[in-house]
């Protein structure tokens, strides 16, 4: 029981937490914006929309009797959805090499709203079983974690861990601005493309396994910057460790809070993360005002 149910769930939770926290850290470095979070600006919603589209359309139109094919296509679809959303977000909010914070947040909200509208339409079209699957994506849960899912998510973690040392210095210099980073010897366009693909892959992989889980990517980097500073060489691996801890803790809490029923972990992370997000907003306003 422990080896077949509990341990794979813990392993998957740790890997998902690490991915989401690292994705948040990279996104905040890339956009030079401490409010950037894959779930907040619609990247997760884009992935969830692609996953819901796969659940409904692939299941109904392409292969009505092949549920396995839909399950296999889900990670790829979620990755593609996240990638398209991130590229769209970057294209809209960047102009002449500069990223507007207001445009970034507002376009992120608009994309998230559009993706949620699409998910609403798919919910309307879905049958009972598909409806249950889509609800699972929207709320986020680790209830279905198995060793095979752990094996599915492991390559994403490996790629992220491998890429971290190569992008850390670039992200540090990028804080100064894109032209300054270019003159400091950073290949800005290549760095941006690597970061966008990484964030999309990490978010898409996480969404494909456990649905939309928000606020891990915004809470973790903020807390860690207070402890170890803003340098990405330390911040990225520390985010992975702390994100993993937070996710395992949140999942355990979600599991025991209303036992034997289970609260979807996405609800719990949003309950913790949303007040924290408001706190950051108010703190920024106080800093700007003073």
């Amino acid at each position: 029981m422990l080896w077949s149910i509990r341990i794979p769930r813990i392993v998957v939770a740790a890997m998902i937490g690490a991915l989401l926290a690292m994705a948040g850290t990279i996104m905040q470095g890339l956009f030079r914006n401490p409010l950037a979070d894959p779930a907040l600006v619609g990247v997760s919603s884009g992935g969830a929309f692609a996953a819901a589209f796969t659940i409904v359309v692939l299941d109904t139109v392409v292969a009505p009797n092949a549920a396995a094919s839909a399950a296999q296509a889900l990670p790829l679809a979620a990755f593609a959805g996240s990638l398209i959303t991130t590229l769209l977000l970057y294209r809209i909010s960047s102009r002449d090499g500069r990223t507007s914070v207001a445009m970034f947040l507002l376009s992120g909200l608009a994309i998230a709203a559009l993706a949620n509208a699409g998910i609403g339409l798919l919910i309307f079209l879905a049958d009972d079983r598909q409806l249950r699957d889509i609800t699972f994506w929207m709320l986020g849960s680790l209830g279905g974690a198995t060793w095979s899912k752990a094996a599915l998510i492991a390559p994403f973690v490996a790629v992220a861990a491998f890429a971290t040392p190569f992008i850390a210095r670039g992200l540090d210099v990028l804080v100064l601005g894109e032209s300054e980073a270019f003159h400091a010897g950073v290949r800005v366009e290549r760095l941006k493309m690597i970061c966008i693909v990484l964030v999309s892959a990490m978010t898409g992989g996480a969404v494909a396994i456990c649905g939309v889980i928000g606020f891990i990517g915004i809470v973790v980097p903020h807390l860690l910057r207070l402890a170890i500073g803003p340098g990405h060489r330390n911040l990225l691996p520390a985010s992975a460790l702390f994100g993993a801890s937070l996710m395992v803790f949140a999942d355990t809490f979600a599991r025991v809070l209303a036992a034997p029923a289970e609260i979807p972990v996405g609800i719990l992370t949003a309950t913790i993360g949303a007040p924290f997000f408001l706190y950051i907003l108010l703190r920024q306003r106080a800093l700007v005002g003073s």
Binding site: A244, S245, V256
Partner: protein, 52 residues
């Protein structure tokens, strides 16, 4: 002919030094291990501890 001791790289007088990253990483790894152990042993969701 007295030569001043070279200033330590990265150290600025008057600035509070951050805790060594080694300590932070050790704390984070310990936290992860403790949380994972807790998650593995807390019985819930219909699985009593005695049946694990």
């Amino acid at each position: 002919m007295s030569s001043a001791a070279p200033a330590r790289t990265g150290h600025i007088a008057g600035h509070r030094r951050r805790p060594a990253s080694v300590i932070v990483f050790a704390a984070l790894i310990s936290l992860l291990l403790v949380v994972m152990l807790l998650a593995a042993t807390i019985g819930a969701a219909g699985i009593p501890l005695s049946r694990l």
